[in-house]
Symmetry: C2
Subunit: 298 residues, 2 copies
Amino acid sequence: MNNKLEYLAKLFQKTGKKKIEHYVLTRLWHQLDNDEVKMVPQQYVARHTEKYALTDVYFPQVGIHIEVNEPPHYDNERRIQADEIRKLEIEKNTGHKVYVIDCRSDLREIHHQINVVIDVIKNRIEEQKKVGNFKPWNPDSEFDPSYWKSKKEIKVSDEISLRTIEDICLLFDADVNKTKRGYQRRGSIEHPRDKEVRIWWPSEKSRSGWINKYDAENGIITETHADSQKKVDHYKHHASRTQIRYVFLKHVDFLGFKNYKFLGIFQNDLDKSGKDIGTIWVKVGDVLNLETLTYHEV
Amino acid sequence: MNNKLEYLAKLFQKTGKKKIEHYVLTRLWHQLDNDEVKMVPQQYVARHTEKYALTDVYFPQVGIHIEVNEPPHYDNERRIQADEIRKLEIEKNTGHKVYVIDCRSDLREIHHQINVVIDVIKNRIEEQKKVGNFKPWNPDSEFDPSYWKSKKEIKVSDEISLRTIEDICLLFDADVNKTKRGYQRRGSIEHPRDKEVRIWWPSEKSRSGWINKYDAENGIITETHADSQKKVDHYKHHASRTQIRYVFLKHVDFLGFKNYKFLGIFQNDLDKSGKDIGTIWVKVGDVLNLETLTYHEV
Protein backbone atom coordinates (compact mmCIF):
# COMPACT_ATOMS: atom_id res chain seq x y z
CA MET A 1 0.00 0.00 0.00
CA ASN A 2 1.19 3.49 -0.64
CA ASN A 3 0.32 6.97 0.62
CA LYS A 4 -2.24 7.68 -2.07
CA LEU A 5 -4.22 4.51 -1.44
CA GLU A 6 -4.01 5.11 2.31
CA TYR A 7 -5.14 8.73 1.89
CA LEU A 8 -8.08 7.92 -0.38
CA ALA A 9 -9.24 4.84 1.49
CA LYS A 10 -9.23 6.84 4.71
CA LEU A 11 -10.88 9.80 3.00
CA PHE A 12 -13.73 7.63 1.70
CA GLN A 13 -14.15 6.06 5.11
CA LYS A 14 -14.27 9.40 6.93
CA THR A 15 -16.78 10.93 4.53
CA GLY A 16 -19.33 8.12 4.71
CA LYS A 17 -21.80 9.79 7.05
CA LYS A 18 -23.75 11.76 4.45
CA LYS A 19 -24.49 9.00 2.01
CA ILE A 20 -25.41 10.93 -1.15
CA GLU A 21 -22.46 13.29 -0.71
CA HIS A 22 -20.25 10.23 -0.26
CA TYR A 23 -21.59 8.67 -3.43
CA VAL A 24 -20.83 11.83 -5.42
CA LEU A 25 -17.35 12.15 -3.90
CA THR A 26 -16.41 8.55 -4.77
CA ARG A 27 -17.72 9.00 -8.31
CA LEU A 28 -15.80 12.23 -8.81
CA TRP A 29 -12.60 10.46 -7.85
CA HIS A 30 -13.07 7.23 -9.81
CA GLN A 31 -14.46 8.85 -12.94
CA LEU A 32 -11.83 11.59 -12.96
CA ASP A 33 -9.44 8.64 -12.78
CA ASN A 34 -6.24 10.62 -12.47
CA ASP A 35 -4.00 9.93 -9.49
CA GLU A 36 -2.05 13.14 -10.09
CA VAL A 37 -5.10 15.09 -8.96
CA LYS A 38 -5.58 15.82 -5.28
CA MET A 39 -9.09 15.75 -3.87
CA VAL A 40 -9.85 17.30 -0.49
CA PRO A 41 -13.14 16.97 1.37
CA GLN A 42 -14.51 19.56 3.78
CA GLN A 43 -12.27 22.39 2.65
CA TYR A 44 -12.08 25.34 5.02
CA VAL A 45 -13.04 28.62 3.33
CA ALA A 46 -13.19 32.03 5.04
CA ARG A 47 -16.46 33.94 4.56
CA HIS A 48 -17.71 37.41 5.32
CA THR A 49 -20.93 36.85 7.16
CA GLU A 50 -19.79 33.82 9.12
CA LYS A 51 -16.47 32.81 10.57
CA TYR A 52 -15.92 30.15 7.92
CA ALA A 53 -17.51 27.61 5.60
CA LEU A 54 -16.63 24.04 4.68
CA THR A 55 -17.13 23.04 1.07
CA ASP A 56 -17.94 19.38 0.42
CA VAL A 57 -15.18 18.60 -2.08
CA TYR A 58 -12.21 20.70 -3.21
CA PHE A 59 -9.67 20.23 -5.98
CA PRO A 60 -6.81 22.54 -4.91
CA GLN A 61 -4.73 22.27 -8.11
CA VAL A 62 -7.54 23.71 -10.22
CA GLY A 63 -9.33 25.84 -7.62
CA ILE A 64 -12.66 24.07 -7.92
CA HIS A 65 -15.09 23.42 -5.07
CA ILE A 66 -18.10 21.13 -5.29
CA GLU A 67 -21.17 21.38 -3.14
CA VAL A 68 -23.41 18.33 -3.00
CA ASN A 69 -26.93 19.50 -2.25
CA GLU A 70 -29.23 16.78 -1.00
CA PRO A 71 -32.99 17.33 -1.48
CA PRO A 72 -33.57 19.26 1.80
CA HIS A 73 -31.43 22.09 0.36
CA TYR A 74 -34.35 22.88 -1.93
CA ASP A 75 -37.07 22.74 0.72
CA ASN A 76 -37.84 26.43 0.69
CA GLU A 77 -36.91 29.64 -1.09
CA ARG A 78 -34.97 30.95 1.93
CA ARG A 79 -32.65 27.96 1.98
CA ILE A 80 -32.13 28.15 -1.79
CA GLN A 81 -31.18 31.82 -1.52
CA ALA A 82 -28.89 31.20 1.47
CA ASP A 83 -27.04 28.53 -0.54
CA GLU A 84 -26.70 30.91 -3.48
CA ILE A 85 -25.28 33.71 -1.27
CA ARG A 86 -22.87 31.26 0.33
CA LYS A 87 -21.71 30.10 -3.11
CA LEU A 88 -21.11 33.65 -4.35
CA GLU A 89 -19.25 34.60 -1.16
CA ILE A 90 -16.96 31.59 -1.42
CA GLU A 91 -16.23 32.37 -5.07
CA LYS A 92 -15.55 36.04 -4.25
CA ASN A 93 -13.31 35.32 -1.26
CA THR A 94 -11.26 32.56 -2.83
CA GLY A 95 -11.26 33.41 -6.52
CA HIS A 96 -12.24 29.76 -7.00
CA LYS A 97 -15.23 28.33 -8.80
CA VAL A 98 -18.02 26.50 -6.95
CA TYR A 99 -20.11 23.84 -8.71
CA VAL A 100 -23.32 22.49 -7.24
CA ILE A 101 -24.59 18.93 -7.70
CA ASP A 102 -28.36 18.92 -7.33
CA CYS A 103 -29.31 15.53 -5.87
CA ARG A 104 -33.05 15.74 -6.32
CA SER A 105 -32.86 13.89 -9.60
CA ASP A 106 -32.21 10.26 -10.48
CA LEU A 107 -28.93 8.40 -10.78
CA ARG A 108 -28.34 9.10 -14.47
CA GLU A 109 -29.04 12.81 -14.14
CA ILE A 110 -26.67 13.05 -11.15
CA HIS A 111 -24.04 11.17 -13.14
CA HIS A 112 -24.52 13.68 -15.94
CA GLN A 113 -23.97 16.64 -13.59
CA ILE A 114 -20.81 15.01 -12.24
CA ASN A 115 -19.52 14.42 -15.78
CA VAL A 116 -19.91 18.12 -16.54
CA VAL A 117 -17.74 19.07 -13.54
CA ILE A 118 -15.19 16.38 -14.40
CA ASP A 119 -14.85 17.81 -17.90
CA VAL A 120 -14.14 21.25 -16.43
CA ILE A 121 -11.46 19.82 -14.13
CA LYS A 122 -9.88 17.85 -16.97
CA ASN A 123 -9.78 20.93 -19.18
CA ARG A 124 -8.13 23.04 -16.50
CA ILE A 125 -5.48 20.38 -15.96
CA GLU A 126 -4.87 20.19 -19.71
CA GLU A 127 -4.41 23.97 -19.81
CA GLN A 128 -1.95 23.86 -16.90
CA LYS A 129 0.00 21.05 -18.54
CA LYS A 130 0.20 23.04 -21.78
CA VAL A 131 1.76 26.05 -20.08
CA GLY A 132 3.82 23.80 -17.82
CA ASN A 133 2.55 24.85 -14.39
CA PHE A 134 0.63 21.72 -13.42
CA LYS A 135 1.87 20.38 -10.08
CA PRO A 136 1.01 16.66 -9.78
CA TRP A 137 -0.31 15.55 -6.42
CA ASN A 138 2.47 13.94 -4.47
CA PRO A 139 1.61 13.03 -0.88
CA ASP A 140 5.03 11.47 -0.42
CA SER A 141 6.74 14.86 -0.81
CA GLU A 142 3.90 16.91 0.63
CA PHE A 143 4.97 16.03 4.16
CA ASP A 144 8.68 15.76 3.41
CA PRO A 145 10.77 18.70 4.75
CA SER A 146 13.65 17.86 2.35
CA TYR A 147 11.29 18.39 -0.57
CA TRP A 148 10.34 21.86 0.60
CA LYS A 149 13.93 22.70 1.49
CA SER A 150 14.97 21.87 -2.06
CA LYS A 151 12.36 24.32 -3.36
CA LYS A 152 14.15 27.09 -1.37
CA GLU A 153 10.87 28.94 -0.90
CA ILE A 154 7.77 28.06 1.07
CA LYS A 155 4.35 29.55 0.37
CA VAL A 156 1.12 29.48 2.36
CA SER A 157 -0.69 28.71 -0.89
CA ASP A 158 1.32 25.46 -1.23
CA GLU A 159 -0.64 24.21 1.81
CA ILE A 160 2.47 22.84 3.47
CA SER A 161 1.96 20.50 6.38
CA LEU A 162 4.72 18.78 8.33
CA ARG A 163 4.18 15.76 10.52
CA THR A 164 6.48 16.52 13.48
CA ILE A 165 8.52 19.19 15.27
CA GLU A 166 11.60 17.25 14.08
CA ASP A 167 10.50 17.88 10.49
CA ILE A 168 10.03 21.60 11.17
CA CYS A 169 13.59 21.70 12.57
CA LEU A 170 14.91 19.88 9.50
CA LEU A 171 13.35 22.48 7.23
CA PHE A 172 15.26 25.30 8.96
CA ASP A 173 18.45 23.37 9.89
CA ALA A 174 17.55 23.97 13.52
CA ASP A 175 18.86 21.76 16.33
CA VAL A 176 15.94 19.59 17.45
CA ASN A 177 17.59 19.08 20.87
CA LYS A 178 16.96 22.74 21.61
CA THR A 179 13.22 22.09 21.44
CA LYS A 180 13.48 19.77 24.45
CA ARG A 181 13.35 20.93 28.05
CA GLY A 182 13.73 17.83 30.19
CA TYR A 183 10.70 15.72 29.44
CA GLN A 184 8.84 18.72 28.13
CA ARG A 185 8.76 20.25 24.68
CA ARG A 186 9.22 23.93 23.99
CA GLY A 187 6.56 25.73 21.95
CA SER A 188 9.12 27.50 19.74
CA ILE A 189 12.85 27.90 19.07
CA GLU A 190 15.16 30.59 17.78
CA HIS A 191 16.08 30.49 14.10
CA PRO A 192 19.69 29.13 13.88
CA ARG A 193 20.79 32.01 11.63
CA ASP A 194 18.69 34.88 12.96
CA LYS A 195 18.20 35.68 16.65
CA GLU A 196 15.32 38.03 15.86
CA VAL A 197 13.23 35.19 14.43
CA ARG A 198 11.46 32.40 16.26
CA ILE A 199 10.00 29.27 14.70
CA TRP A 200 6.68 28.70 16.49
CA TRP A 201 4.27 25.72 16.50
CA PRO A 202 1.22 26.91 18.46
CA SER A 203 -1.78 24.73 19.12
CA GLU A 204 -5.36 25.91 19.39
CA LYS A 205 -5.72 23.46 22.23
CA SER A 206 -4.73 24.99 25.55
CA ARG A 207 -1.35 23.59 26.66
CA SER A 208 0.40 24.23 30.02
CA GLY A 209 -1.87 27.24 30.43
CA TRP A 210 -0.99 28.87 27.10
CA ILE A 211 -4.00 29.87 25.02
CA ASN A 212 -3.72 30.60 21.29
CA LYS A 213 -6.58 31.70 19.08
CA TYR A 214 -6.27 31.79 15.31
CA ASP A 215 -8.46 34.07 13.20
CA ALA A 216 -7.95 32.73 9.67
CA GLU A 217 -9.99 35.37 7.89
CA ASN A 218 -7.88 38.25 9.20
CA GLY A 219 -4.59 36.38 9.64
CA ILE A 220 -4.32 37.09 13.36
CA ILE A 221 -3.17 34.92 16.27
CA THR A 222 -3.86 35.95 19.84
CA GLU A 223 -1.40 34.48 22.35
CA THR A 224 -2.09 34.65 26.06
CA HIS A 225 -2.00 32.63 29.29
CA ALA A 226 -4.71 31.38 31.64
CA ASP A 227 -2.81 32.54 34.73
CA SER A 228 -3.40 36.28 35.24
CA GLN A 229 0.17 37.05 36.37
CA LYS A 230 1.78 35.06 33.54
CA LYS A 231 -0.61 36.76 31.13
CA VAL A 232 0.62 40.21 32.12
CA ASP A 233 4.28 39.10 32.24
CA HIS A 234 4.04 37.64 28.75
CA TYR A 235 2.39 40.76 27.36
CA LYS A 236 5.08 42.96 28.90
CA HIS A 237 7.83 40.76 27.52
CA HIS A 238 6.59 41.42 23.98
CA ALA A 239 5.32 44.97 24.51
CA SER A 240 8.60 46.79 23.94
CA ARG A 241 9.66 45.55 20.52
CA THR A 242 8.52 43.57 17.55
CA GLN A 243 9.60 40.05 16.71
CA ILE A 244 9.14 37.82 13.67
CA ARG A 245 7.70 34.33 13.94
CA TYR A 246 7.39 31.60 11.35
CA VAL A 247 4.18 29.88 12.32
CA PHE A 248 3.17 26.22 11.95
CA LEU A 249 -0.26 25.59 13.46
CA LYS A 250 -0.64 22.24 15.15
CA HIS A 251 -3.92 20.59 14.26
CA VAL A 252 -5.58 17.28 13.52
CA ASP A 253 -6.81 17.10 9.93
CA PHE A 254 -10.09 15.47 8.94
CA LEU A 255 -8.32 12.15 8.29
CA GLY A 256 -7.15 12.08 11.89
CA PHE A 257 -3.50 12.87 11.07
CA LYS A 258 -1.79 15.25 13.49
CA ASN A 259 0.27 17.81 11.64
CA TYR A 260 1.76 21.31 11.60
CA LYS A 261 0.43 23.59 8.89
CA PHE A 262 2.46 26.55 7.65
CA LEU A 263 0.39 29.70 8.31
CA GLY A 264 2.93 32.32 7.21
CA ILE A 265 5.26 34.92 8.73
CA PHE A 266 3.80 36.80 11.69
CA GLN A 267 4.84 39.89 13.69
CA ASN A 268 3.49 41.12 17.01
CA ASP A 269 1.40 44.28 16.78
CA LEU A 270 2.44 46.58 19.65
CA ASP A 271 -0.67 48.77 19.39
CA LYS A 272 -3.25 46.00 19.22
CA SER A 273 -1.70 43.88 21.99
CA GLY A 274 -2.70 44.61 25.56
CA LYS A 275 -2.63 43.40 29.18
CA ASP A 276 -6.19 42.17 28.91
CA ILE A 277 -6.14 40.52 25.53
CA GLY A 278 -2.53 39.33 25.32
CA THR A 279 -0.09 39.51 22.41
CA ILE A 280 -1.56 39.93 18.95
CA TRP A 281 0.41 38.41 16.08
CA VAL A 282 -0.44 39.66 12.60
CA LYS A 283 0.50 37.96 9.34
CA VAL A 284 3.11 40.01 7.45
CA GLY A 285 4.17 37.47 4.84
CA ASP A 286 2.90 34.46 2.84
CA VAL A 287 6.10 33.57 1.02
CA LEU A 288 9.43 32.90 2.74
CA ASN A 289 12.81 32.43 1.12
CA LEU A 290 14.50 29.77 3.25
CA GLU A 291 18.03 30.95 2.35
CA THR A 292 17.85 34.74 2.49
CA LEU A 293 14.98 34.75 5.03
CA THR A 294 13.31 37.53 3.08
CA TYR A 295 9.55 37.32 2.92
CA HIS A 296 6.68 39.00 1.17
CA GLU A 297 2.90 38.90 0.88
CA VAL A 298 1.21 37.11 -2.01
CA MET B 1 -33.81 10.35 -5.73
CA ASN B 2 -34.62 6.94 -7.04
CA ASN B 3 -34.19 3.37 -5.85
CA LYS B 4 -30.81 2.85 -7.51
CA LEU B 5 -29.23 5.92 -5.95
CA GLU B 6 -30.75 5.01 -2.58
CA TYR B 7 -29.49 1.43 -2.88
CA LEU B 8 -25.94 2.37 -3.88
CA ALA B 9 -25.55 5.26 -1.47
CA LYS B 10 -26.69 2.99 1.35
CA LEU B 11 -24.49 0.15 0.08
CA PHE B 12 -21.39 2.40 0.07
CA GLN B 13 -22.25 3.65 3.53
CA LYS B 14 -22.72 0.18 4.98
CA THR B 15 -19.49 -1.18 3.50
CA GLY B 16 -17.23 1.56 4.82
CA LYS B 17 -15.72 -0.34 7.71
CA LYS B 18 -12.94 -2.09 5.80
CA LYS B 19 -11.41 0.84 4.04
CA ILE B 20 -9.42 -0.82 1.24
CA GLU B 21 -12.29 -3.17 0.42
CA HIS B 22 -14.55 -0.13 0.33
CA TYR B 23 -12.20 1.69 -2.02
CA VAL B 24 -12.17 -1.30 -4.42
CA LEU B 25 -15.96 -1.69 -4.25
CA THR B 26 -16.59 1.99 -5.08
CA ARG B 27 -14.10 1.82 -7.95
CA LEU B 28 -15.69 -1.33 -9.38
CA TRP B 29 -19.03 0.41 -9.47
CA HIS B 30 -17.96 3.79 -10.85
CA GLN B 31 -15.52 2.40 -13.42
CA LEU B 32 -17.93 -0.28 -14.60
CA ASP B 33 -20.26 2.70 -15.02
CA ASN B 34 -23.35 0.75 -16.03
CA ASP B 35 -26.49 1.23 -14.00
CA GLU B 36 -28.06 -1.89 -15.51
CA VAL B 37 -25.59 -3.99 -13.55
CA LYS B 38 -26.43 -5.04 -10.02
CA MET B 39 -23.64 -5.14 -7.45
CA VAL B 40 -24.10 -6.98 -4.17
CA PRO B 41 -21.68 -6.86 -1.25
CA GLN B 42 -21.22 -9.67 1.26
CA GLN B 43 -22.87 -12.35 -0.82
CA TYR B 44 -23.86 -15.49 1.06
CA VAL B 45 -22.30 -18.63 -0.47
CA ALA B 46 -22.73 -22.18 0.88
CA ARG B 47 -19.46 -24.09 1.42
CA HIS B 48 -18.54 -27.65 2.27
CA THR B 49 -16.19 -27.32 5.18
CA GLU B 50 -17.96 -24.43 6.87
CA LYS B 51 -21.58 -23.51 7.16
CA TYR B 52 -21.21 -20.63 4.71
CA ALA B 53 -18.95 -17.90 3.34
CA LEU B 54 -19.50 -14.26 2.46
CA THR B 55 -17.77 -12.96 -0.63
CA ASP B 56 -16.84 -9.27 -0.63
CA VAL B 57 -18.54 -8.23 -3.88
CA TYR B 58 -20.89 -10.18 -6.16
CA PHE B 59 -22.29 -9.44 -9.59
CA PRO B 60 -25.31 -11.78 -9.80
CA GLN B 61 -26.13 -11.21 -13.49
CA VAL B 62 -22.73 -12.50 -14.60
CA GLY B 63 -21.96 -14.90 -11.72
CA ILE B 64 -18.74 -13.15 -10.68
CA HIS B 65 -17.51 -12.79 -7.11
CA ILE B 66 -14.64 -10.53 -6.06
CA GLU B 67 -12.53 -11.02 -2.98
CA VAL B 68 -10.53 -8.02 -1.79
CA ASN B 69 -7.49 -9.30 0.04
CA GLU B 70 -5.81 -6.74 2.27
CA PRO B 71 -2.12 -7.32 3.08
CA PRO B 72 -2.72 -9.53 6.18
CA HIS B 73 -4.17 -12.19 3.83
CA TYR B 74 -0.61 -12.85 2.66
CA ASP B 75 0.97 -12.95 6.12
CA ASN B 76 1.75 -16.65 6.04
CA GLU B 77 1.54 -19.69 3.79
CA ARG B 78 -1.30 -21.20 5.81
CA ARG B 79 -3.53 -18.19 5.28
CA ILE B 80 -2.68 -18.06 1.57
CA GLN B 81 -3.61 -21.72 1.18
CA ALA B 82 -6.80 -21.32 3.20
CA ASP B 83 -7.85 -18.46 0.90
CA GLU B 84 -7.11 -20.59 -2.15
CA ILE B 85 -9.18 -23.53 -0.83
CA ARG B 86 -12.02 -21.18 0.00
CA LYS B 87 -11.91 -19.72 -3.52
CA LEU B 88 -11.99 -23.15 -5.17
CA GLU B 89 -14.83 -24.31 -2.94
CA ILE B 90 -16.93 -21.27 -3.73
CA GLU B 91 -16.31 -21.73 -7.47
CA LYS B 92 -17.19 -25.43 -7.27
CA ASN B 93 -20.36 -24.92 -5.21
CA THR B 94 -21.75 -22.01 -7.15
CA GLY B 95 -20.44 -22.54 -10.67
CA HIS B 96 -19.40 -18.89 -10.45
CA LYS B 97 -15.98 -17.35 -10.96
CA VAL B 98 -14.06 -15.74 -8.07
CA TYR B 99 -11.51 -12.96 -8.76
CA VAL B 100 -9.05 -11.79 -6.13
CA ILE B 101 -7.75 -8.24 -5.82
CA ASP B 102 -4.35 -8.33 -4.13
CA CYS B 103 -4.04 -5.08 -2.15
CA ARG B 104 -0.37 -5.31 -1.25
CA SER B 105 0.58 -3.18 -4.23
CA ASP B 106 0.21 0.54 -4.95
CA LEU B 107 -2.77 2.48 -6.24
CA ARG B 108 -1.98 2.08 -9.94
CA GLU B 109 -1.41 -1.66 -9.71
CA ILE B 110 -4.67 -2.10 -7.78
CA HIS B 111 -6.46 -0.02 -10.41
CA HIS B 112 -4.98 -2.29 -13.06
CA GLN B 113 -6.28 -5.43 -11.32
CA ILE B 114 -9.74 -3.87 -11.04
CA ASN B 115 -9.70 -2.98 -14.74
CA VAL B 116 -9.02 -6.59 -15.63
CA VAL B 117 -12.09 -7.77 -13.69
CA ILE B 118 -14.21 -4.98 -15.15
CA ASP B 119 -13.27 -6.10 -18.66
CA VAL B 120 -14.40 -9.63 -17.84
CA ILE B 121 -17.74 -8.35 -16.51
CA LYS B 122 -18.25 -6.13 -19.56
CA ASN B 123 -17.51 -9.01 -21.93
CA ARG B 124 -19.97 -11.31 -20.19
CA ILE B 125 -22.68 -8.67 -20.39
CA GLU B 126 -21.93 -8.15 -24.08
CA GLU B 127 -22.26 -11.89 -24.66
CA GLN B 128 -25.58 -11.99 -22.81
CA LYS B 129 -26.88 -9.03 -24.79
CA LYS B 130 -25.90 -10.72 -28.04
CA VAL B 131 -27.92 -13.85 -27.27
CA GLY B 132 -30.68 -11.78 -25.70
CA ASN B 133 -30.68 -13.12 -22.16
CA PHE B 134 -29.27 -10.11 -20.30
CA LYS B 135 -31.63 -9.04 -17.52
CA PRO B 136 -30.99 -5.38 -16.63
CA TRP B 137 -30.94 -4.56 -12.93
CA ASN B 138 -34.26 -3.08 -11.98
CA PRO B 139 -34.75 -2.50 -8.23
CA ASP B 140 -38.12 -0.89 -8.88
CA SER B 141 -39.54 -4.19 -10.17
CA GLU B 142 -37.38 -6.45 -8.01
CA PHE B 143 -39.62 -5.84 -5.02
CA ASP B 144 -42.83 -5.42 -6.99
CA PRO B 145 -45.21 -8.43 -6.75
CA SER B 146 -47.08 -7.28 -9.92
CA TYR B 147 -43.84 -7.58 -11.88
CA TRP B 148 -43.32 -11.18 -10.80
CA LYS B 149 -46.99 -11.99 -11.30
CA SER B 150 -46.72 -10.80 -14.88
CA LYS B 151 -43.79 -13.19 -15.42
CA LYS B 152 -46.13 -16.08 -14.47
CA GLU B 153 -43.22 -18.06 -13.06
CA ILE B 154 -40.99 -17.44 -10.05
CA LYS B 155 -37.51 -18.92 -9.66
CA VAL B 156 -35.20 -19.12 -6.68
CA SER B 157 -32.36 -18.07 -8.99
CA ASP B 158 -34.16 -14.77 -9.68
CA GLU B 159 -33.42 -13.87 -6.04
CA ILE B 160 -36.93 -12.60 -5.44
CA SER B 161 -37.52 -10.56 -2.31
CA LEU B 162 -40.80 -8.98 -1.31
CA ARG B 163 -41.12 -6.18 1.21
CA THR B 164 -44.28 -7.17 3.07
CA ILE B 165 -46.78 -9.96 3.76
CA GLU B 166 -49.27 -7.83 1.78
CA ASP B 167 -46.96 -8.15 -1.24
CA ILE B 168 -46.72 -11.92 -0.80
CA CYS B 169 -50.53 -12.09 -0.77
CA LEU B 170 -50.74 -9.94 -3.91
CA LEU B 171 -48.44 -12.36 -5.74
CA PHE B 172 -50.81 -15.27 -5.07
CA ASP B 173 -54.14 -13.37 -5.12
CA ALA B 174 -54.55 -14.33 -1.48
CA ASP B 175 -56.79 -12.37 0.88
CA VAL B 176 -54.48 -10.41 3.16
CA ASN B 177 -57.22 -10.19 5.81
CA LYS B 178 -56.85 -13.91 6.36
CA THR B 179 -53.29 -13.32 7.58
CA LYS B 180 -54.63 -11.32 10.52
CA ARG B 181 -55.76 -12.80 13.80
CA GLY B 182 -56.90 -9.92 16.00
CA TYR B 183 -53.82 -7.84 16.54
CA GLN B 184 -51.58 -10.74 15.65
CA ARG B 185 -50.29 -11.90 12.32
CA ARG B 186 -50.43 -15.51 11.19
CA GLY B 187 -47.22 -17.17 10.02
CA SER B 188 -48.81 -18.65 6.89
CA ILE B 189 -52.07 -18.89 4.93
CA GLU B 190 -53.73 -21.37 2.67
CA HIS B 191 -53.31 -20.90 -1.07
CA PRO B 192 -56.63 -19.47 -2.40
CA ARG B 193 -56.83 -22.07 -5.18
CA ASP B 194 -55.30 -25.12 -3.49
CA LYS B 195 -56.15 -26.28 0.03
CA GLU B 196 -53.15 -28.60 0.07
CA VAL B 197 -50.72 -25.70 -0.25
CA ARG B 198 -49.75 -23.12 2.36
CA ILE B 199 -47.84 -19.90 1.73
CA TRP B 200 -45.38 -19.57 4.61
CA TRP B 201 -43.17 -16.70 5.79
CA PRO B 202 -41.00 -18.13 8.54
CA SER B 203 -38.42 -16.11 10.42
CA GLU B 204 -35.14 -17.39 11.80
CA LYS B 205 -35.83 -15.23 14.82
CA SER B 206 -37.91 -17.05 17.40
CA ARG B 207 -41.49 -15.68 17.39
CA SER B 208 -44.29 -16.61 19.84
CA GLY B 209 -42.29 -19.70 20.73
CA TRP B 210 -41.93 -20.98 17.15
CA ILE B 211 -38.36 -21.86 16.18
CA ASN B 212 -37.30 -22.20 12.53
CA LYS B 213 -33.84 -23.15 11.37
CA TYR B 214 -32.81 -22.85 7.76
CA ASP B 215 -29.96 -24.96 6.34
CA ALA B 216 -29.21 -23.26 3.01
CA GLU B 217 -26.65 -25.78 1.81
CA ASN B 218 -29.05 -28.72 2.00
CA GLY B 219 -32.31 -26.82 1.44
CA ILE B 220 -33.87 -27.89 4.74
CA ILE B 221 -36.01 -26.01 7.24
CA THR B 222 -36.61 -27.42 10.71
CA GLU B 223 -39.79 -26.13 12.32
CA THR B 224 -40.46 -26.67 16.00
CA HIS B 225 -41.71 -24.97 19.18
CA ALA B 226 -40.02 -24.01 22.43
CA ASP B 227 -42.88 -25.43 24.51
CA SER B 228 -42.45 -29.23 24.79
CA GLN B 229 -46.20 -30.01 24.52
CA LYS B 230 -46.71 -27.71 21.52
CA LYS B 231 -43.61 -29.23 19.95
CA VAL B 232 -45.08 -32.74 20.11
CA ASP B 233 -48.55 -31.57 19.02
CA HIS B 234 -47.11 -29.76 16.03
CA TYR B 235 -45.06 -32.77 15.01
CA LYS B 236 -48.08 -35.06 15.26
CA HIS B 237 -50.20 -32.66 13.24
CA HIS B 238 -47.78 -33.00 10.32
CA ALA B 239 -46.75 -36.62 10.89
CA SER B 240 -49.60 -38.30 9.04
CA ARG B 241 -49.40 -36.71 5.61
CA THR B 242 -47.29 -34.46 3.45
CA GLN B 243 -48.04 -30.85 2.65
CA ILE B 244 -46.58 -28.33 0.23
CA ARG B 245 -45.37 -24.91 1.35
CA TYR B 246 -44.20 -21.94 -0.70
CA VAL B 247 -41.55 -20.41 1.50
CA PHE B 248 -40.52 -16.75 1.88
CA LEU B 249 -37.84 -16.36 4.55
CA LYS B 250 -38.16 -13.21 6.58
CA HIS B 251 -34.78 -11.54 7.07
CA VAL B 252 -33.02 -8.22 7.30
CA ASP B 253 -30.61 -7.71 4.41
CA PHE B 254 -27.21 -6.03 4.80
CA LEU B 255 -28.69 -2.63 3.89
CA GLY B 256 -31.06 -2.90 6.83
CA PHE B 257 -34.15 -3.53 4.71
CA LYS B 258 -36.59 -6.10 6.13
CA ASN B 259 -37.82 -8.44 3.42
CA TYR B 260 -39.14 -11.88 2.53
CA LYS B 261 -36.93 -13.91 0.25
CA PHE B 262 -38.35 -16.70 -1.91
CA LEU B 263 -36.60 -19.94 -0.90
CA GLY B 264 -38.56 -22.38 -3.06
CA ILE B 265 -41.24 -25.06 -2.72
CA PHE B 266 -40.90 -27.26 0.36
CA GLN B 267 -42.53 -30.49 1.52
CA ASN B 268 -42.43 -32.07 4.98
CA ASP B 269 -40.36 -35.26 5.17
CA LEU B 270 -42.33 -37.80 7.24
CA ASP B 271 -39.30 -40.02 7.88
CA LYS B 272 -36.85 -37.33 8.90
CA SER B 273 -39.29 -35.45 11.15
CA GLY B 274 -39.61 -36.56 14.75
CA LYS B 275 -40.98 -35.70 18.20
CA ASP B 276 -37.58 -34.54 19.33
CA ILE B 277 -36.42 -32.53 16.34
CA GLY B 278 -39.74 -31.25 15.00
CA THR B 279 -41.00 -31.10 11.44
CA ILE B 280 -38.40 -31.22 8.67
CA TRP B 281 -39.26 -29.37 5.46
CA VAL B 282 -37.22 -30.29 2.40
CA LYS B 283 -36.96 -28.27 -0.78
CA VAL B 284 -38.72 -30.04 -3.66
CA GLY B 285 -38.83 -27.23 -6.21
CA ASP B 286 -36.98 -24.08 -7.32
CA VAL B 287 -39.35 -22.93 -10.05
CA LEU B 288 -43.08 -22.37 -9.56
CA ASN B 289 -45.69 -21.67 -12.21
CA LEU B 290 -48.05 -19.18 -10.54
CA GLU B 291 -51.00 -20.19 -12.74
CA THR B 292 -50.85 -23.98 -12.93
CA LEU B 293 -49.06 -24.29 -9.54
CA THR B 294 -46.77 -26.91 -11.07
CA TYR B 295 -43.20 -26.78 -9.86
CA HIS B 296 -39.86 -28.35 -10.65
CA GLU B 297 -36.23 -28.31 -9.62
CA VAL B 298 -33.65 -26.31 -11.55
